[in-house]
Amino acid sequence: MNPDNYLYLSAILFTLGALGVLIRRNAIVVFMCIELMLNAANLAFVTFSRMHGALDGQVIAFFTMVVAAAEVVVGLAIIISVFRTRRSASVDDANLLKY
Amino acid sequence: MSSFPYLTVTIAAPLVGVAGIALLPKGTGARSKQIALGASLLTLVLSIVDAVKFDVGGPRFQLNESYTWISQFHINYSVGVDGIALVLILMTTVLTPVVILASWHDDKDRPRPFFSLLLVLEVMMVGVFAATDVFLFYVLFEGLLIPAYFLIGSYGRSGEQKRSYAAVKFLLYNLLGGLLMLAAVIGLYVVAERSVADPFSFQALANAVSSGTLHFSTGVERWLFLGFFIAFAVKAPLWPFHTWLPDAASEATPGTAVLLVGVLDKIGTFGMLRFCLELFPNASHWFTPAVLVLAVISTVYGALLAIGQTDMKRLIAYTSISHFGLITLGVFAWTARGQVGASLYMVNHGLATGALFLLAGFMIRRRGSAEIEAYGGVQKVAPLLAGTFLLAGLSSLALPGMSPFVSEFLVLVGTFEKYPVAAIIGVTSIVLAAVYILWLYQRTMTGPVAESVSNFKDLNRRELAAVVPLLALILVLGFAPGILTKYINPAVTQSTTQITVAPPHTVADAARAAGSQR
């Protein structure tokens, strides 16, 4: 299969994730969209890795997974603590800080 | 480079007072006044020593000192004085003890910071006149805003809204000007770095400009000129950059106002004379018509507005704007006579307006109001006060025999040689000056004694001690201006020599003028 297609898929996923971050209001959904973006990057890395015939990209994907996992842990901790105090995970409800 | 750092010692002398004030034990803060007075008098003595050491016939810059400061940018701590700087330093060191004496009770019960700030301000004022490194000049030029800012904002008239408004306005105007100058200073450095070994040294730069080693492209020179000029125009308030001065001068304590108008603003005209003309002669020439228009407008506008004022201190501030217009006129007249007059005027204006401000301050302190309406018939209750006030006023309107007369005359004559129209319009300000000064005197001092004035005390000994030296100086210099011109003339001659575009005959004029003055 032509590797370009994987890149297109990756770009689409990344764009979807980015749009989701900008449009969605629920912190968890926003967060999931960010994970989607990270995974789109992973897909791109792996595809390029295959195109270049080297394994670097796959190793990078490993590291990205680790980082994404750490991000999940931290992010969920924050979201849950916010949710516990406000009973809401909507980003719009987090509106105490304004200019 | 002289063996003993006379200038540095003079500059740093007030710091002795600051240290003394800082070391005062708790509860004895009131002693700061005496310490400050002592330190400022010490500085005065030292500056007189400098003047004595200064060889009138010698090279232009003397008492030079230079130490590497920031080698990465070729910045040096270098000081040195020519005649103009020297007389301005003398004026500063004279005014400071007078101001301290006059401000004896203006410290709002926080004497330590007040007098420390005055002394720090003196350090910077003396330093700025003595600096021969462009960067050092700039740093001090900007730095003295801070003590002045706190003096206006913390110790001025009551009514914090207006006071802090005036302080902020003062700082912002000057800071914006200063930042533009910073850009120009850096620009100058970047350009000069290529051809001048010591790109921040004023002497090196001036020499390079006059010898042609340092050549700016026309556009660059004009931009750099503008950067410097706007900063100086804000400082020496030239219409339309003047609006901070009436606010600042009227909100500050009389002492601060004296330093503000008497010394700080002189840095602006001093800077024009030294930096704009000598470093950017071509651009200065190109801009001269515009500058002259501004100067003339300032002169007339300041005078007209002064007439309309109801607040004494604002009135005096506006007279200063008018006078600064004249000084600028003299600076940009491109004649030696005009420039000598302008330099002389800087000193004389400092003394005359200083005395006027102080006396107004004494009155305001007694009455608690700066409104002219609130006074009347003071001369019957406090003849000494009225008498000194009249003297100061007359000197401000440049009555012959008083020192400002000489300088104003020289400026107008010098301008007339090349720009007669400007000079003629400038003359009208003399007429207007008579109006505002005499009318002010008439409204406050003569007539029936106002109720609130009836229990006025006359000047006490401290106040007399503050004012009398100034008036004495005005009279002495009025009759013997040569005391100062002997220092000023060589400096002007030498600087005009350096301005290559200046037509050669003006040099001869200047020499003649110098001779005639003697």
Partner: protein, 451 residues
């Protein structure tokens, strides 16, 4: 690639494809049949252990009982609760059944055999990362369970689903760690490679600890007794599938039994020589060739299934905290340390400059030290926890829990007479006004904070 034309057809279907389809269908059929058999087997064996008879009516010895049950389930009403999230509720059983089948794709049933004159291995597909694939696919199965619990819109299934997933992921770690030792020895992740590497010795011998850990973990992983907490009838009714009926319920059931077979097969593949014949039989060279290995594999599988049933028949169910503790505080550290020990031994062997006689005391010493540390940790922990508990002010905590509505993290039904803070669905974009303990709303607090 060679394309053969099947007689009478014009279409070019490669043989390998046809073979794959055949193998796939066979695999599917066998799994379904095995499930039916295992259900019957379990009921009979448990009855036997409990001195009962068990199903014996439908078919010979009741063998068709499971089939009959399946038909009965298909004829029951398919109830979807009102509170349920409908699409997910439908999706969940499908999502849990498919991975169960898929996991089996890489299990080797035997060596190369000849089918219709074509040589092929008795394995659907031989992936180089076979074991990883199994782990990945079986993880997807967890989604089925969590989603089933969540979408039911009911308390017990939710708890059951979450508990179940917590349990599965907890034991998955121990399971994964136990595999690492196998990879270390085999040098590959391919299932067939691992089987091939066990030609000399089954890995259960050198990797005994790994094997034991895996066997424990696999029971936990399949939610089987004594680890069948998610379906603890006393606490949670039926667990995540409480609200499921009819064939959707049957699918969960199916998935569970297939998983049982899968993990057993994996155990056989990883530790018990795969399709290889056991020792005395392996002396006969023909035992590991042709179709015979499938027999050995099935026998081993049945033994494992029997062990599962045996456990269910004899052991009481663990409490949830005991169960999690076993997983986290025993299996994981033990397998990690074991892995390191294995690695050291292996490396020493590779280098070849170590007398094996020295090795055993070193390993034992290290293991003993480690156990001591663990014990110390646990003792201190216990002391600390009990201290903390004792010193807590029970009344205050109780009040806080009431207000939070989460009794220590779980939603709890209200006590009689207890007033519960009303939770109403809130329109979007308005600040929520939940009352916090000190009587201020968060919004108030926040605005206080801004002063």
């Amino acid at each position: 690639m060679d394309h053969w034309v099947i007689n009478g057809f014009d279409t070019h279907i490669p043989w390998w494809f046809l073979l794959t389809v055949i193998k796939g269908v066979a695999l599917f059929a066998m799994l379904v049949v095995l499930t039916l058999f295992n259900i019957w087997f379990e009921r009979r064996v448990v009855s036997w252990m409990q001195m009962r008879i068990g199903p014996n009516r439908v078919g010979p010895q009741g063998l068709l009982q499971s089939l009959a049950d399946g038909v009965k389930l298909a004829l029951k009403e398919d109830i979807v609760p009102e509170n349920a999230d409908k699409p997910v509720f439908w999706l969940a059983p499908v999502l849990s059944a498919i991975p169960a089948f898929l996991a089996f794709a890489v299990i080797p049933w035997g060596p190369e055999v000849s089918i219709f004159g074509h040589r092929t291995t008795l394995q659907l597909v031989d992936l180089p990362i076979g074991v990883l694939y199994i782990l990945a696919v079986s993880s997807v199965g967890i989604y089925g369970i969590v989603l089933a619990g969540w979408s039911s819109g009911s308390t017990y299934p939710l708890l059951g689903g979450i508990r179940s997933s917590a349990q599965m992921i907890s034991y998955e770690i121990a399971m994964g760690l136990s595999f690492a030792g196998v990879f270390l020895y085999a040098g590959t992740m391919s299932t067939s490679g691992i089987v091939a590497a066990q030609e000399q010795t089954w890995y259960i011998l050198p990797l005994c600890i790994s094997g034991i850990i895996y066997i424990i973990a696999m029971v936990g992983e399949t939610n089987r007794a004594p680890f069948d907490l998610p379906e603890a009838e006393g606490e949670l009714v039926g667990g995540f599938h409480t609200e499921y009926t009819s064939l959707k319920f049957a699918l969960f059931f199916l998935a569970e039994y297939i998983n049982l077979v899968t993990v057993s097969s994996l155990a056989i593949t990883m530790f018990f020589g795969g399709w290889r014949a056991p020792w005395p039989l392996s002396l006969w060279s023909g035992a590991n060739q042709g179709w015979y290995p499938m027999i050995w594999f099935l026998v081993k599988l049945l033994i494992f299934v029997f062990v599962f049933i045996w456990l269910r028949g004899t052991l009481p169910r663990l409490r949830y905290d005991q169960f999690m503790k076993l997983g986290w505080k025993v299996l994981i550290p033990v397998s990690l340390v074991w892995l390191l020990l294995v690695a050291v031994i292996r490396q020493l062997k590779n280098v070849g400059d170590m007398d094996q006689a020295h090795l055993i005391p070193i390993c034992l010493g290290a293991a003993a030290l480690f156990v001591l540390v663990l014990v110390a940790l646990e003792v201190r922990e216990r002391n600390q926890v009990s201290r903390d508990r004792r010193s807590r002010d029970a009344a205050e905590l109780a009040r806080e829990e009431d207000l939070e509505g989460l009794g220590g993290g779980f939603p709890v039904p209200p006590m009689p007479g207890q007033q519960r803070a009303a939770i109403t669905p809130r329109p979007l974009r308005t600040p929520i006004l939940a009352v916090t303990a000190n009587g201020h709303t968060p919004a108030e607090e926040a605005s206080d904070g801004r002063q």
